[in-house]
């Protein structure tokens, strides 16, 4: 039995999605569906994680490829099905041996060979570009998949790294190299709107090169089944203007602010007293744990629990007290023993970490 309730694990598509990502959206309708069925719909449909409304160079190429292939597939399918109906109704005597031979050789070998040759020439020509390394000086981000969250390190030119978690922000128009690795099982890193996916392995680094082409808010997910809460391993992706991005990154690089309000100060005491620091780091405080996500600027993030809950005080409280209920199998224990007052203080402290 799960206690997941609709209201509790909404991803913030409403309040997040409205500001940037919804400008080229189209609402889903029956008529549109019918149009898709007949292969005539050439526009992508919305969603923060739709490969058909691309926001990255790779995703754009692949979406184009998809529409061409779909059109071709629909034509071939109609041809074969049409031919099937014709064959059933055709008068038997009208066809001689030679014609059927031509049909088998033509339809079975020549036609597919030609079509596939064209397709391979077009499709594989995209490949070098999609797997080519980003040029020198491009942004490098190391991402570690862990059951079931994401450790993200922005590599700085000086060799330092700025660690964030469960959220990725990117500057628009800048190629990015993701260095992917896993801390435990196999995961797969995928931001459908921006490009394809690459798996993450323990003990082996893989790379993915992406280049966002428009600003907006998107959603990335783990695409490789990775255990109980595989479904709840996602992350918001925000593509920003370059200046905005630099400001954000600079903010992220700073240590946490000391709590100013008494409630938040009490929250910090609870944080340390309960041993949260054994797993979590909050830079600038004694909390230096490395097992769980870095919480230095958790107040700034768009979601909690790797895209599972919206980042609000109420959901923070819910998360801390009922982790396993929200995310089955999660490693973080449930802090049910906290009093309402302690929970309130803790949530206030954490949400104040901007």
């Amino acid at each position: 039995m799960s206690i997941l309730k609709g209201a509790d694990i909404q991803i913030r598509s409403n309040h997040i999605g409205r500001n940037a990502g919804s400008d080229n959206g189209c609402s889903y309708s029956y008529a549109r569906w019918v149009i898709f069925l007949f292969g005539l719909c050439l526009t992508g449909c919305d969603g923060q994680q739709s490969a058909l409304s691309p926001a990255g160079r790779g995703a754009e190429r692949i979406a184009d490829l998809f529409w061409w292939m779909s059109a071709g597939a629909v034509i071939i399918w109609l041809f074969i099905v049409g031919f099937l109906f014709y064959s059933v109704r055709a008068h038997p005597e009208a066809h001689n041996n030679r014609q059927t031979k031509i049909l088998i050789i033509g339809g079975g070998t020549v036609l597919p060979t030609v079509v596939l040759a064209i397709l391979l020439a077009y499709g594989l020509a995209l490949l070098p570009d999609l797997v080519a390394p980003a040029h020198k000086g491009s942004l490098k981000i190391a991402v570690y998949g862990e059951q079931w969250w994401w450790r993200v390190r922005y590599q700085q030119a000086d060799g330092q790294a700025i660690e964030v978690a469960n959220e990725i922000r990117l500057p628009v128009g800048v190629p990015v190299e993701f260095q992917l690795e896993s801390a435990d099982v196999i995961h797969s890193f995928w931001i459908p709107s921006i490009g394809g996916k690459v798996d993450m392995f323990p003990g082996r680094q893989t790379r993915l090169f992406l280049e966002p082409t428009r600003t907006g808010i998107f959603r990335g997910v783990c695409a490789e089944y990775c255990g109980a809460s595989h479904a709840l391993m996602s992350f918001p992706v925000m593509v920003l203007e370059r200046e905005e991005f630099s400001l954000w990154l600079e903010q992220e690089s700073k240590p946490a602010q000391m709590p100013s309000e008494p409630l938040a100060a009490r929250g910090q005491q609870v944080f340390l007293a309960q041993g949260c620091n054994a797993c979590h780091t909050i830079r600038g405080t004694p909390a230096k744990g490395v097992i769980g996500p870095d919480l230095t600027h958790i107040g700034n993030r768009m979601s909690l629990g790797a895209g599972t809950l919206s980042n609000e005080v109420e959901s923070l409280k819910r998360w801390i007290a009922h982790t396993d209920g929200v995310k089955p199998g999660v490693l973080m224990p449930e802090f049910r023993m906290l009093s309402q007052e302690e929970l309130e203080a803790l949530a206030s402290y954490l949400s104040g970490l901007k």
Binding site: M1, S2, I3, L4, G6, D8, Q10, I11, S13, G17, L37, C45, D46, G47, Q48, Q49, S50, A51, L52, L65, F66, M69, S70, I76, W77, V81, L84, S87, A90, P92, H95, T100, I104, G107, G108, P112, T113, L116, G123, L124, L127, L130, D184, I186, W190, P192, K197, D199, F201, G203, R204, T206, A223, Y225, C226, G227, A228, H230, A231, L232
Partner: protein
Amino acid sequence: MRNEIEPVEVTIEEVEPLKEAPPKEIQRAQEERLLKAWKVPEGWRYWSEVNNTEVGLWYTIAALIFFVFGGVLALLMRIQLAVPNNDFLSAELYNQVFTLHGSVMMFLFAVPIFEAFSIMLIPQMLGSRDLPFPRLSSFGFWSFALGGTFFCGSIFFGVAPRGGWFMYPPLTTRYQPDIGADFWLLGLSFIEISAIAAAVELIVGVLKCRPPGMRVNLIPLYSWYLLVAAAMVLFAFPPVIAGSLLLEFERAFDWPFFDASRGGDPLLWQHLFWIFGHPEVYIIFLPSIALVAMIVPTFARTPIVGYGWIILAAVGTGFLSFGLWVHHMFTTGLPGISIGLFSAASEAVAIPTGVQIFCFLATLLVGRVTRSVPMLFVFGSLIIFVLGGLTGVMVALAPFDFQAHDTFFVVGHMHYVLIGGSIFPMVAGCYYFFPLINGKMLSEKLGRIAFWLMFIGFNTAFLPMHLTGLRGMARRIFTYPADMGFDTLNLISSAGAFILAAGIAVFMWDMLRPKSRQPHSKRNPWGAGTLEWLADMPGKKWGVRSVPEIDHRYPLWDQPNFVRDVDEGRFYLPDAEEGKRETLVTSVIDANPIQCLRIPGPTFITFFAAMFTGGIFIFSTFHWWWMAAISAVLALGAILIWFWTGTSIIPEKEKKNIGLGVTLPLYISGPDSVSWWAMFITMLGIMTAFVCLVFGYFFFWTIHEDFPPDPLPGPGVFWPVTSAGLLLGAWCLTILARQWNKRDLAISFYTGLTFAAALAVTGGVALIAGPWFTGLDPATHVYPAIVWVLVIWTAFQVAIGLIMQLYCIARRFAGRMTARYDIDIHNVALYWHFTAITVVITVAVIAGFPLVA
């Protein structure tokens, strides 16, 4: 001493059925004797039957029960995914359900159903009375029933595997330490072994048990397809068995094959799994399309167009399918060049598939098509499958796969291929062949209702999934958030799934509904041209009244008075004078009759052998090693009793007249005998598994600089080379023993084989001594682990060979093997040829390779 048995040279043109039918009373007496020989036991002894019609039927029913079980699991998933944030199933239960759904459908339904159909139909199609090894079919069935029940039962205790049907480590090793994954690894390995048993049976059946005159160019297409599919099983299942062995060793004994921190690599599993997993799709698809190849000519009222093309395409598909596995791994970060190559290879498989489809279209074009329920399902199949094939072309293109991989697009694609390419033909096949089971037709009306429900339901369920996937919905997620563009699409899919299920329910009801009041169908109700439609309605257990001489692809259409001649016993083997079950063995290419094969009858020993063999796997799942060991001893005992009492029985006379002036030997050994072929084919499968382990060794070498490690911790050169010398000695002495036996030199035979056995023991011990004395600890690093696995595999094979040598000594001693009747030693020598190859490869790898690396 030995009588030279020359194959009887019979040329096709000369043979005609008897001009005159035997007198009626003789016919009646023959029929009585045949019926008595092929009588099915009654009461509880019914379950001791091994005849292909009964075993095939049980097999089919069991596979269909698992199909319904897998289908119910699918409906549970569709309920869960109907709306966002649903809590109908918990995360853990959902993960168990989807793992079981995939595994059950693949391992307990799709492959077994084709083996079941084939066990039931192939003897009929080949005008044979049974398959060559009925008891092997029976053993396979009981293994399947036991293993499948055990595997499925796990979910009722909440401990079902939950690693996905692909079981990727390290999720399935350290991160799921409970017994769920063991159910998968051991339960399914057991079933895979029974699948290989059935494949061996079918290959030998098609190659050696055809009616006289049915040369390779006259074989019904179904049998051709089955031959290809069974050969694929033989080479595709061993990799996953080898992989399962490694994975289970890692789970049970902590040998780090897939643990990156100790030199292992999770990608090795993916390679081994998909070398199996991709051919698997064609193993399912080819037999299904084989049904289409039988149904289409019947209803087009014309022979198939492009017979040769179809066979070429089927063989081509079989070969190609082994070179495509990497397209399941496009997102693992492989180099661009290999991605491109495998992408192109994957596309190429569309060509043979296209040839087959256009051959069917051409047949429909030149024929006058009659409408029927089987044909309706064939049309549905083609319409759906072609679309699945086209989306397959899309996902095979690596750049598109970067997006589509592991999304609902692939779920949609795969079900179009599997349901269109397999379920629809299977239902077509059920409607078509049902009269062969109990002489009754299925309902035309219910069939049409079932079709439209299934067709509409299927497309409603699976077409939207393509879009759901491209909107970013990953596979294997137990829930999804609202407002991501998935909600409506998922609801439609769920509704469609229930419509599809309703259609399948109607179809099931049609098969199960009581039919006692319904009259029997007329004979050959569809007016087909192939041999299985010789059957009476209801059919007689003898399979075929007399084994016909074939010189057309559609003998019922093209050979005049064919049915009359068969019925009146004017062809071969119209009688069972000695009251024994018999069928003909023919040569592989030209189908010249070479032997009248005595076939064993009902027994419970195969049931016990299957239960005890199952016990080994089942008890190991729970780590009850002692129970497993006892079970292994009992299984060995049961199998030995089975072989001792039921195989290579010395006939009461040398030759037998089978009619039409042909006299055939009752006993042949060596490469002409069916058991020699069975041994040869089985050993090919076993060698494949072994080669996969060797592949593992070299895989680690390619990914590690320091593999094999320097300085080398073991196993050294001395012990492995010594053991190779001893074991090759055992091999040579076994061959010599075969010669001495043939020359009836009893003393030399006994001494030689005893020495051979002694050499096998010492050689096996010496092999183990290498890693043992050099202190290789398999839990520390992958190098000692893989060396140990190669050694254990080889030593195990030697141990089986030792049992065989002792068995031969005992057989001769008991008078059950003589200079003339020497199948046992022939087959054991063949086994030892392969064992010698295994030994040489193992020693070359573990002792030789570190020297050159």
